[in-house]
Symmetry: C2
């Protein structure tokens, strides 16, 4: 993994969490373009309002991320604390007076608790010393944004345009409170391919729509979701290689997005749902999401139970029309239901195939339309329940 030029990274433990890394800083050497996509939850963290008021922008210099506290549902004090974090970073970086608005903020963790600002400010004062442009620093930064994740989530791409090499490097976090109809969890993407605010904004929106917006763990939309792209200034719609950049950005975001339900809380299977034959892509998306959000489908996969009626019946309440007589289903390639009729199948074999594979592929055809969509989700295990029954206590 080669990092783009022009950025430094750091990830440290400052004390918001008892022991694990909890503070990340990403700094651009010069003013950079920043664009973001954010949660559409009405109940938003202070950082979301802050970032939304700034991006798309041309003179952003840094993103500070804390994990362990979401700074959401924290009222007016939460907004003040968020601004103090941005101001603190601007001051430490010597960006000059009033430069807080050159610093984006991301928070993730428990909702409704005041930010431990003394701890955070101490961390902000210290983290600058760890900034570096090397891979180890990027990895430390990608580690300190995690909460219930088991594994660090990074992805990268490299491409050449007219003999010049460009790079994209991205980090994400998320294992729970992952729901659709939103932006995403946290993702920070840096590139050395030049952008304007409008090209960056369009690029991140397209990439998120094709990736983070098509995953779920339990479908609960977070208060803190954000995906932010940083890029050098000076790009336009006409910059050579724009389409290649978009293609690579989409691929990087998709790679990260898949990692989230794969690492979903308690998950033992990644479930990939592919719907085709719908009247439109939107209709197919609603069906795929409804299947992906069904606890009955998710528990069946967890238990390797070939209870396929749950899949078909979930499609039936997605709120989009189709003819049951045109519905066909395969599960890991095994045909179970064809044109509305159940097929004879071997439940033992089907169960064994689910159990032995880390990924379960559900393919549903609902008619002869051209609408298609996909969705990734986790299975639902007793461990998910245990993890989430004891999160704050």
């Amino acid at each position: 993994m080669n990092l783009p030029d022009g950025y430094r990274f750091a990830g440290i433990h400052c004390g918001i969490k008892p022991a694990l890394p909890d503070l990340t800083l990403v700094v651009s050497d010069g003013p950079c373009v920043a664009a973001g996509v954010y949660t559409t939850n009405l109940v938003r963290a202070a950082c979301i309002d802050w970032n939304r008021s700034i991006t798309p922008a041309v003179d952003v210099r840094a993103i500070v991320v804390n994990s362990g506290n979401a700074n959401a549902c924290t009222g007016r004090q939460g907004a003040r604390d968020n601004e103090a974090m941005a101001d603190g970073v601007a001051s430490e970086l010597g960006l000059g007076p009033g430069a807080g608005r050159k610093v984006l903020v991301l928070s993730t963790g428990v909702i409704g608790r005041p930010m431990p600002m003394e701890t955070v400010q101490r961390g902000i004062a210290a983290i600058g010393r760890s900034l570096a442009s090397e891979l180890a620093a990027f990895q430390a930064a990608a580690t300190a944004i995690l909460t219930t994740d088991h594994s660090r989530k990074t992805a990268s791409a490299e491409f050449s345009v007219d003999g010049q090499t460009f790079r994209i490097a991205a980090m994400a976090k998320g294992a729970g409170m992952i729901g659709p109809a939103m932006a995403t969890m946290l993702a920070v993407i840096v590139t050395d391919y030049p952008h304007s605010p409008s090209t960056a904004d369009g690029a991140i929106r397209e990439a998120v729509d094709q990736s983070f917006n098509r995953i779920s763990v339990e479908g609960h939309m977070s208060t803190n979701d954000a995906a932010i792209l940083l890029a050098p200034t000076g790009g336009t719609d006409a910059t050579p290689g724009r389409a290649v950049f978009q293609e690579r950005l989409n691929a990087v975001c998709l790679e990260l997005a898949r990692m989230i339900p794969t690492d979903g809380e308690g998950a033992t299977h990644l479930i990939e749902i592919r719907v085709r034959g719908a009247s439109s892509d939107q209709a197919a998306d609603r069906i795929a999401r409804t299947i992906g959000l069904s606890n009955l489908v998710k528990t069946a996969v967890a238990g390797a139970d070939p209870n396929w009626g749950r899949i078909v019946s979930a499609a039936g309440f997605a709120g989009v029309p189709f003819e049951v007589g045109q519905v066909s289903l395969t599960l890991n390639g095994i045909h179970l239901f064809e044109n509305g009729e159940p097929l004879p199948f071997d439940p033992g074999l089907t169960s064994r195939v689910i159990r032995e594979k880390r990924e379960t592929l559900i393919e549903l055809s609902v008619g002869h339309g051209s609408g298609a969509a996909w969705h990734y989700t986790s299975d639902l295990t007793a461990d998910y329940v245990r993890l989430n029954a004891e999160y704050t206590t």
Copy 2:
């Protein structure tokens, strides 16, 4: 519990399930009015199409219910089997040729398996001998409709109009695949208060809207939901006592509805969600449902975790507008969030109160509007996952 006059009941074991009762018959002594509310799932059991084509009706004589097999996703053979069940009952009851359409059918159980028709027909031939008008027969009938339920669900009411006594007796089943935006699970309600098809239809719709449509276990809409009311003919809108009947019917359905998430698969808490201050009752209902369907809220209650941010953030993605600055939350009477600001609270005490009570009361005020709604749901436990990971295998 006193039963209304004019009905006989039976519940037996015929062999669809290995050992438990699985066949119920409810017979009206004379032609009766029947009205029903049914699942809105596009993927419907054969019995739903059958009943929908008959009700509201004035000459229904019986309802046959089997548990253990949903006869859903069973294609054309499923429709033929359903009709054979109705014809078999009509024949056994001596209703004359072509009287199958005087018999309603309800099926519940596993989806996608062919009905074991030899077994079912043997049961239909035998069940008539068990028909009786006594309470024990009613209870046997209410037992044979159950699937994963732990307990029989019955409710009744008695009222007088102009010195004449009328009765309502009702049975329901349901513990899983319980979702909103639908009709309900299975419920059969009999009364000796007279109706016309249109009064019966209006009565059952109002009662379901106030009861079964406001509960969930995991939000997966069933293929087989149905609530059916049987009543003597001869009633009109002007029949004295109509309002009292409706009030009692609503109360009976609400009593049954509460039993379903209380007995929800694996459930250790009934969660009651009350939302007020919304712009409309519909808006309040969407918020209450969204909270009730959140796995994160449901696991927090299971673990007695006072992680109230999950409740407020669920409201935030319900898709209806409100001002976070006007949101207040209490949990079992403990104030946690007021006008957008978190309140200091004792997490240990709050947790203990959740753990010690079988019911958890969530009260959310989202503004100054007059819209209000309530929703009942189960908590989500590791046992729910275990039960549903191993349902068919």
